[in-house]
């Protein structure tokens, strides 16, 4: 096992790589790639603006200032958001020209569509949620936090997508349909909107976690909180190391062991109120770190909210139980609204796929595993609607279902290719080097990876 120090240079290189994603000049990139870096720059500008704007609103809310007046930073933030959105759309447009079709065939193209959709749906949700105009400073803070999270998510997604192959690929015959663009756009827009809804819920869970933590015997002490912070930092460092290719990471089963520990602990201790929070704590930390996108989303949210709660505590401004209850109710309504924007698009995208399949294969539903995973996400949200509107699920309970929905979307979108039944799916277009099947028994396309060394070029001599 090697020491961390040896891997520090690697981590540094990875960080420089991240800064590289802000450099729009040179590198012989295609126009779409250059525009994407401008989007990253807009996000990098937007994050501090959102933080400053959020802090200003928070101060105003705490001093009890009334009204809906926009601050300069709020206007600037909206400007940056729409500018980033426009740049991202321009990048998609440029990519369209570079590949000569609607750019949603390879994973890098689809991820750029997703980050664009994130920006677009954040803009749309700002209008739909009326957080800024109607609800004063406290809610403007929530709005700013969301926008900052979206900026961070877009930047991270773009950084990741540019590590994937950007090679142009021709559309196979089955994808040359007028359904291609609407089917993909609807689904990706709904994914983005529903992700934002889940993001809201995640922020709430993180907040509740830190506040509950302070009420336990363990988390009530400075030392106990230090242990929690150490666990978080260690997990974050571990994930970063893995991302940068370190070889010293522990046994692969580490994550599973951690999760199992959390589940068992929370189950065993559920009846004893004194330990319940401690068990929830372990479970929450492990789960948030364990999530496939933990390093980008859940872990940073957990840490940022933790820092905010510490700040509150130092000013003895920890929200009371009633205020937390009120917050739970309102975050629940807001996330429901975000859901209500995304769900019709999810429905439309799902069934547009069926209309397309009907035209291509006269088979509107082939029980293909991609169709099934998409159906699972849809059914989870159907359950959410019924539980919330009829079952009286409110607050944490219903937001939990929203998070489950986002998880199932993540399955459909990103880890679908690993699922057992997906091996012979006809939807494996985006995977690098996988020949799409699309019901054709024609010749398989060329491999995307042609591996020959220079020495074989002697063949030509």
């Amino acid at each position: 096992m090697q020491t961390t120090a040896l891997h520090l240079p690697q981590a540094l290189v990875a960080t420089t790589g991240f800064l590289d994603s802000l450099d729009p000049f040179g590198h012989q990139l295609h126009d779409s790639g250059v525009l994407l870096r401008w989007v990253n720059i807009a996000c990098a500008i937007g994050i501090p603006v959102a933080v400053v704007s959020g802090l200003a609103h928070r101060r105003a809310a705490l001093t009890g200032a009334d009204g809906t007046h926009e601050t300069v930073f709020g206007r600037l933030l909206r400007l940056v958001l729409w500018a980033a959105c426009a740049l991202s759309l321009l990048s998609v447009h440029a990519r369209w020209g570079e590949v000569n079709h609607f750019p949603s065939q390879t994973m890098s193209e689809v991820l750029v569509m997703f980050s664009t959709a994130l920006l677009l749906s954040m803009g749309v949700l700002q209008l739909a949620l009326h957080l800024r105009k109607a609800h004063g400073h406290a809610w403007a803070t929530v709005d700013d936090t969301l926008v900052a999270a979206v900026f961070a998510g877009v930047w991270a997604t773009n950084h990741y997508s540019s590590s994937l192959s950007t090679a142009q690929r021709d559309l196979p015959p089955a994808l040359q349909s007028y359904w291609f663009a609407p089917h993909l756009s609807c689904l990706i827009f709904s994914y983005a909107t529903l992700s934002i809804a889940a993001l809201l819920a995640t922020v709430f869970f993180a907040l509740r976690f830190w506040i509950n933590l302070r009420e336990t015997r363990f988390g009530g002490t400075r030392g106990g909180r230090a242990v929690v912070w150490a666990v978080l930092a260690a997990t974050g460092g571990l994930l970063l190391s893995i991302r940068t290719g370190a070889s010293w990471v522990p046994n692969p089963s580490f994550f599973w062991a951690l999760l199992a520990l959390g589940v068992v602990a929370s189950w065993l201790l559920r009846a004893q109120p004194a330990y319940r929070s401690a068990a929830t704590l372990v479970l929450t930390v492990t789960w948030m770190a364990f999530l496939p996108f933990g390093q980008f989303v859940t872990l940073p949210i957990l840490m940022i909210v933790g820092a905010v709660v510490s700040g509150m505590a130092s000013k003895s401004a920890i929200p009371s139980a009633e205020r937390m209850g009120a917050l739970e109710g309102t975050l629940d309504s807001v996330s429901f609204r975000a859901f209500a924007v995304g769900f019709p698009f999810l429905t439309a995208g799902l069934f547009q796929g069926a209309f397309w399949a009907q035209e291509a294969w006269a088979n509107y539903w082939g029980w293909d595993s991609k169709e099934n995973t998409a159906l699972i996400s849809w059914l989870v949200y159907v359950l959410y609607v019924h539980l919330r509107l009829l079952g009286g699920y409110r607050g944490a309970k219903s937001m939990g279902v929203l998070v489950a929905g986002a998880l199932s979307i993540f399955m459909t979108f990103q880890i679908f290719g690993y699922l057992p039944d997906s091996q012979k799916s006809m939807h494996r277009y985006t995977d690098d080097g996988v020949a799409p099947r699309e019901g054709m028994q024609g010749p398989s396309p060329e491999a995307s990876a042609r591996v020959e060394t220079e020495s074989t070029s002697e063949n030509a001599r």
């Binding site: 790639g33 109710g329 359950l383 699922l419 039944d421």
Partner: protein
Amino acid sequence: MSKTQDGENASTSAAAPTGPKRIGFGAAILGVVGLTAVGWIALEVLSSHWRVYQQLRETHSAWDALTTLPGATADANWSDTRLLVRDVIFVAFTIFFGIFAWLSRASFTRFFRSMNVGVAVVLLATLSVVSGVLIPQIGPPDDSTVRVDAPDAPGGNYREQFDEFRWAVGYFLYHLGHLYGVGMPEADIPPAAIAGLDGFSRKYGLEEAGNRRKGMEAAFSGNAKTLAIEDFTIRNEKRLRSAFDLVTRLHLNRVYRSFWFASLLTVLAVAIVFNTFHGGPKRWLKPSKFGFFLVHVGMLVLLTGGALSRTFTVRGICNLHLGGLDRNGDGVYDRSRDEMPPVEDGFYRSNIPDAEHLRFMPFGLSLEAFARRDWPALQVTFLDEEGVPLAFKSRLPTYTLWNGREIDLDYVDPPDGSGGDPEPRLRLIVRALHERATVAGVVTRERTAAERGDGPASPVAELRVPDARRIDPSRIGEAVPSRQEFLFAAAPGSSDVDCVSDLTAKFRLVAVREGDPTVRFPGREGRLGACYVRTLVEGENVDERIDVRLGEVNELPGGYRIVFQRATKWYQTDPRTGTEIEIGIPLAQQPLMNPAVVALVTAPDGRSESRVLQDGVDPMERKLVDSYDVPEVLLTLDWDDWTAPGGARYVLTWDANDRATLISQDGDRTDVALGERLPMEGMPVELVDVFDDFAYEADVRFRDPIVRDDGWNEEFYSRDPRGLELEIVHWPEDARRRTSEIVSMASTRAGAAGIHIDRESAFVLEFFENTAGFPFEWRSVLRVHERDASGNWVEKDLGDPRSREIRVNDYFFYKGYRMFQTNANETMPGYSGIGVVFDPGIPLAIAGMWIVIAGAAFAFLVRPILLARGRGNRGAVPTRQG
């Protein structure tokens, strides 16, 4: 699901109990599972009778089939007493259950309208779909009859299905156990490959090189991972096997075709019915309810359509051939035909090649036209100082072309030495693509000294040889079509020679301009060419080049061993079975068509594999590696017909005065005048001209597009090559040095119209139609035939070809049958596989989906706006903070 409190009032009030005795969640799950089980048994029982009915329907009308059903059932099913008893019990149970349900209808209503039951049924449906995603399903998914056979059933599919299961589940579990890639084998890209990448990025740009590198990483780590997963599945074979047997017994690997799933969806539909239609139209049309009402109605319509599809769908492939008369008599299929059509020409249920599964359409089909159109593509090869390509062909990127596409290439550092970004020396701009072009001929000439510059001369003999591809065996006696052939003289000192071989293997010919021509005759017979070998030894690639000689044992590093066992100059396979068709004459007498050798590769651990190597086929590029038993050894054959066994060898040479001499291997020298046939036995070869430094241009002409008012695209079926007008810009980013020219090319080898050589900038452009991957599109034009009153086949008049054309994504509909483009075979250009589907559920299912979309949009997008307007308050988020 009772809608007592949705919408606006839901957001203000908390949960309220739905009735006096609330049905608990556990009870709801139990109830739904129980009802599903009852439905499952009912469907199992009914299906045995349904099968009998379907058989009757093949020959009877619906009514006749129904009336004769009891008798037929008695014959088919009730001869087994157990089945009779089962049916009697089932009928009795149905009657009692019906009476019970009627008497306690209030309880049933309360049950189905309970929230928990609604949630339970949706939850169970979700879990069923989840199980189908986590457990690999056996295919085809739309065939209800497919099963996993017993492990010892002769000719059964058990092993095949288990292997698929093992791989899929192993793949999943392996990744679960290696989250974030922890502990996975690392990708080691050989340093040689990376070194090559640097030069590659200079020529083709950083982005292209970056993508190449990502591809290499994926390929190398992918190979290592594949081996690790194989290892994992083998270690866990026993456990995987018992898991497979278990899911097979529980029908969990055919979830969506199982009766329990159908039964569960039926319960779901019943629950929707109970919760949607109470309250009457007044309640349904309320703006706050209308969207939800619509969604549920849509789901019901959709489920009804799905039930119809599941019950009645027939799906198969109709294999049609252009001019189908040769293969099938009249090219149409009907059950009353006396002879059974050949196996691949029938219309099957579920693709099972078994006469019992044959199903005939009420009409006949034949193929009027079929074409495959490929993407126009360009390949750019850069040459070194000696005019030799810089890289192996499989390394070259292929650019798909469209109007206006710009490609920047050949990067150099800026001349001012500023260390800025490299600038491209070359920009290719597609000015126009033409669907059809012709090559009127080739203009050949000597190159001028100015054109040559410092580069080497390329001496060429221009020949006229019979064109094997255009020879029609049915027209013996007519003039044999011929083509120009340019025979490049062998470069002094190079072992690489350009060789013309006789179609009947009587002679072989090379050209030599400089040096002693007779040194070209090989001293020893039997070298079939070179083989490029890459062996993976302890994580490092070792590359070498060995001579191919039959029977010799070649020891490779790492203890691997290759023996070339057999060779053929005409390797061909049966397109249907994939087995080799052997030509059956000695190698030396075989015509040079598609040379291949069979190599026996042996690994040190005893694994061995007999591998067919076709000339110039790169195993990585063609993805052949996946099927190798010894994937650590990669072989590429470079056949050399000059040194292999074959016809008599001749060398053609000429002097500065264009006096040509033909030298045979025996040493005979014959002078040949230009325009004369070369004195060799075999196909006639005319010496047209000789050049000391050859230049040529193809005379490419673009044909006018065929425009028709009705939009019928006749050009798609044209066999003409495509045309390209390409602008070549040198120094595109430097206004002072910028020059540009427009070249016209055609995607054909004729007259080398698809090749443009720029010797000054040392690159070669090749314009071609890319047949390597998926085509741009396949299209077929169908004809429908029916029998007239006297029983003769007549073609139905169904309008112009456009209305009968099918493509992927655009099917043809006739009498309830949908015909769509589904299959094609590169080696059988006249073959088109037509998918045929009879599915009466489609209209209902599609309508249901539209209704659900409309309902969801109304409920979640329109309704809030309407309600907000109604309240005169746009801010609908309740504010609760103090």
